[in-house]
Symmetry: C2
Subunit: 350 residues, 2 copies
Amino acid sequence: MNEMPKRFGARINLRKGHVDMTHGSGGRAMAQLIEELFVRHFDNELLSQSNDQAAFQPPSGRMVMSTDGHVVTPLFFPGGDIGSLSVHGTINDVAMSGAKPLYLSAGFILEEGFPLADLEKIVKSMAAASREANVPIVTGDTKVVEKGKGDGVFITTTGVGVIPDGIQISGDLAKPGDAILVSGHIGDHGVALMSKRDNLEFETEVASDSAALHGLVAAMIDEVPDGIHCLRDPTRGGLAATLNEIASQSGVGMHLQAADIPIRNDVAAACELLGLDPLYVANEGKLIAICAPEVAERLRDAMHKHPLGTNAAVIGTVNDDEHGFITMMTEFGGSRVVDWLAGEQLPRIC
Amino acid sequence: MNEMPKRFGARINLRKGHVDMTHGSGGRAMAQLIEELFVRHFDNELLSQSNDQAAFQPPSGRMVMSTDGHVVTPLFFPGGDIGSLSVHGTINDVAMSGAKPLYLSAGFILEEGFPLADLEKIVKSMAAASREANVPIVTGDTKVVEKGKGDGVFITTTGVGVIPDGIQISGDLAKPGDAILVSGHIGDHGVALMSKRDNLEFETEVASDSAALHGLVAAMIDEVPDGIHCLRDPTRGGLAATLNEIASQSGVGMHLQAADIPIRNDVAAACELLGLDPLYVANEGKLIAICAPEVAERLRDAMHKHPLGTNAAVIGTVNDDEHGFITMMTEFGGSRVVDWLAGEQLPRIC
């Protein structure tokens, strides 16, 4: 963040004001927006240093860095908004290496005319998500583009974290015989979002599962320090895309049991209605774990004890297939291929 | 970056193709874009791990993290483009703490319909800037928004680096009596950009000064390990905004000598023409250094020896003024206040 002088005369009007081009100019209006909005809510010592970068002493260990742009539409949806999502999304990408997330940065691209009240709502929600996860937003940047050259607000967050000694988790470590687990119900985020899209609104009680998963990951590693080979959060493209990614990276195939994949009735019904396959619908608070078969039950039981893993289930096994095919036994006993998503299912889901 | 399967059938058409929504869907088209464009050009071992995060072993020391969104228009300008700018900008923000930049992440927000040939040009330019600076792009993300909801391409880069032991450089450390230096001619970037804006095109030979300054910073610290108190790159809002930021952060005033501030005749003439004050025009390859008076000459001489500091000059002194006023003796011997930029000078300059 840039510098914030201590006095500006009138406070910025966060109730009725709008983003204008001066908020991106490097001058007094920008400094005021940063001080009275971002620094106030993200409140932490590193950010308040007011340099263009944050300096910190990391614990020793291998470090991890991950970045994620958020362009979700609508900006506010059942179970969250672009602010909380941008915190959870990047914390999760860091955590999927087994790392403890330490710090976040946030880059805002604002569209001229965007209501400051909405921006404050988003910033408050980011601040709350960051506090709850105990991962502070320590540096940031704000740019403003002309009306019609953006879409309200885009947020790119980057996270850094440290991997505990001895942990080796990566998408290329799945081995034939390994068990495949998912931490809970799939498809909630995508369905919650679709229910609020302008052209699609339909009645459902489904809320996004958006959540920070690093606590669950820490609990899993605590209980099963050896034997977790891969972790990944099935966001865009859903369970199907993520499993195809891992299969391709590890050079293995997979076989799933449809009956074992947790899915809410509401989500299944909505997917039926919309003609979507829930395997391809985005999640924002779920993870896939691939582990040695001998620790699978212990891992599942450990997940069950965590609030974000109460519905965890073993859903399949890794097999030896150099073509990387993923097959699934359907609930009717047939077999189908779970391919990559070829076209586009739900744009701007995160 | 997400995973990239090894075979897709036909290669992506980088010569005549356009970004479409499937490139952001999490499916095959996105994986192909990542593999055939980003991973190919950014080519490095960490990125090729294909996880959603990059893991690395940092050298010991305090770490630094900085982020910067890039929304510059036009995307291509004399002396650079949004790609090289997004690498230089974040490297510089990291380097201004005295740190050695280690790694970058890149988050792309693409507008549907953007020509893939232009995207490749930008990606190549980023790759070249990153290689030249020896700071690899180790992780990234790509999102696509509908036509009319973005502006071609926005790039948010984040950098991490390590501060050498014993170095303490921060915007709040300027002291009365300190010398103020600038590393070269001011205003080049802003003028180069303005000369290419649709509604303004005028004839000038001025090119952007966009450059990575970490080599210059290392040379400065090498020569003067003690006594450099603040470093900052005067980007948006130019020299004036940056000095006001530091003055406010450190609780000091400053006095400048206009005659000592290096500025090209072309830039001065263009500013005259456009009614701009060059003190407020953006730079992308310059830094301001504030140091103890006894090392000022030695620091300036060290800067002169580096290709990016050949025109470095001492331009003023820090004084004891709790109101944080910046004054300047003009070339005609008068005195003026160099205030914060109140409105907006040049939108979307970086």
